[in-house]
Amino acid sequence: MFWTQGFKEKLFISLSLSRLFLIAIVVFFGFSLLTKKFLSLTNLFNFMHASVPLMFVATGLTIVVLARNLDISVGSVAFLAPVVGSTLLVRYGFPLPLSVGVVLLVGLLAGLCNGLIVTRLKVNSFIATLGTMMVFRGIGLQIVKGRTIGLPSVLSNLSSVRFGGFYWDILVSLVFLIFLHVVHTRTPFGRYVSAVGSDPDVCRRAGIDVDKVVLLSFLLSGLFASVGGLWLSMQLGSVSLRMGIGMEFVALASIVIGGISLFGGEGSLFPGLLLGVYILYMIESGLNYLGVSPYFYPFVRGGLIFSAMYVDSLRVRLTKEGKTSSVKG
């Protein structure tokens, strides 16, 4: 029975993935039965379009989570980066391409900040990003001095370009996701990320530069968060004070639903995260159609996170047979 243990794991993982597909299908058709409006291609494209900013943010965050870290500053980065860019654009008349470039740069810098705090100062990623979350938001709020910045209409028009119902930004988000997925599965860096997430000590001993991997993961998270923020502000046509608040929570929810383990190492961007984001949005827009108030969304997300995390911890317990388990955070 040499293969029993490994087989058990593989079985569980493939069950999890197919479970995702199943859930996606169930949710979609379930809601379609409940409201006639749901089952339509336009509607599908609508919520896919709405999920684009989150898709960016969650994609970057996934890399950090795969490496066994957390980055809850993504919401604030998604706020700060567009704030800087739009301030330069609107208040100082910078050319558009440069402003966009600055947005990305801010994201990278934020990621660098996080990465350095975690790798050099050796602070826990959750405390570190809790702190930077506040700092970034504070900086952003200070820059806008409490006012909303309106963006030129060309930008919001750009974001709503569609081809017969299919918004082009859905394609962009998918391209980014697939790109990062390829990086994750085909490049050495991507494999290191999962390896570090599974067992950083073993990696260190094997000669992998764990700090560099972690630093890069935070850089990616910051960069993608800024892209997400950029797109969100384009969709809304403005940069507002409360933009991005709570985004880290929704991103985490979609990551966890997508089968990515918070303990690191396990999970995929495609189809994992992709399905996670869409399932979450499907459930929320479905509930919306049913007339459920948006105030319930936190409950929904919380409930989803709990169930997905429960399954995740079950998996950890099942595949760690024989060892005394620990309760440390």
């Binding site: 029975m1 293969w3 029993t4 243990q5 058990k8 047979e321």
Partner: protein, 257 residues
């Protein structure tokens, strides 16, 4: 292995057909052995031979996959460390199993703290520090260690002193079957000597039966009465110390003869 002593001495612990599998990995495979009263048995083997796993089964950290365990002739089930302790099996682990920020007394009594009498004591489960410190000082000095400050955290103690605290814990709780996992690891030469002498004294003065795991053949030969050799989870040899020599034991460990 027939032995004139077998008839006259009591068997304190016996293991028959013991197996511990982790999925497809047979860490311990069909091991038999007996532990007699007042003797020190050394279990040796290469890395991965199953020594650590075997004693973890005996001390309740792992649950056996198959086989039988007998303590004082009675068949027993050891499902968790508490069961093992209740049977009088106390273990001194490789990393001592001490809490660094606690003092010696708190470590000795961890999990079995002495509570204060009296109404308040019982309601809030207040710990009786005075009692625990007294007992600890008494135990440690009887083991020949003068802990200058019983109230200081064990992480300030030297490796040898910490090892003694760990041993003190096993002794204090009246372990009749003591298991030492690599007791001389990470110790200086003088401290190694002290620990080995201590183990012998525990056997003599307290009448305990002791199992020692070590990969240091020289140390094994210094203190044990009998040697059991494991290789790939199976018992490949058992010899009285007086009837063998290090070279033979090493040959049995590596399987090259």
């Amino acid at each position: 292995m027939e032995d004139w002593r077998e008839a006259s001495r009591k068997v304190v612990l016996e293991v028959k057909g013991l197996c511990k599998f982790f999925g497809g990995i047979k860490a311990v495979n069909n091991v038999d052995f007996k532990l007699y009263e007042r003797e020190i048995v050394g279990i040796v083997g290469d890395n991965g031979a199953g020594k650590s796993t075997l004693i973890k089964v005996l001390s309740g950290v792992y649950e056996k996959t198959a086989g039988k365990i007998f303590v004082h002739g009675q068949e027993v089930e050891i499902r968790n460390p508490g069961d093992a302790r209740r049977l009088g099996i106390e273990t001194v682990y490789q990393d001592q199993g001490l809490i660094p920020i606690f003092d010696a007394a708190s470590n000795l009594f961890l999990g079995r703290e002495k509570l204060q009498e009296g109404f308040l004591g019982r309601v809030f489960k207040l710990v009786d520090d005075k009692f625990m410190i007294q007992e600890t000082e008494r135990t440690l000095s009887s083991l020949g260690i003068d802990i200058k400050d019983a109230r200081s955290k064990v992480l300030y103690l030297s490796g040898g002193q910490r090892q003694t605290v760990a041993i003190g814990r096993a002794v204090y709780w009246k372990g009749k079957i003591l298991i030492f996992d690599e007791p001389t690891n990470n110790l200086g030469v003088k401290q190694e000597r002290r620990v080995l002498e201590l183990i012998k004294r525990i056997r003599d003065e307290l009448g305990a039966s002791i199992i020692i795991i070590s990969h240091n053949i020289a140390h094994i030969f210094e203190v044990v009465d009998r040697i059991i050799v494991l290789r790939n989870g199976e018992k490949v040899g058992e010899k009285l110390k007086t009837e063998t020599n290090p070279a033979e034991i090493v040959a049995m460990i590596t399987g090259v003869s």
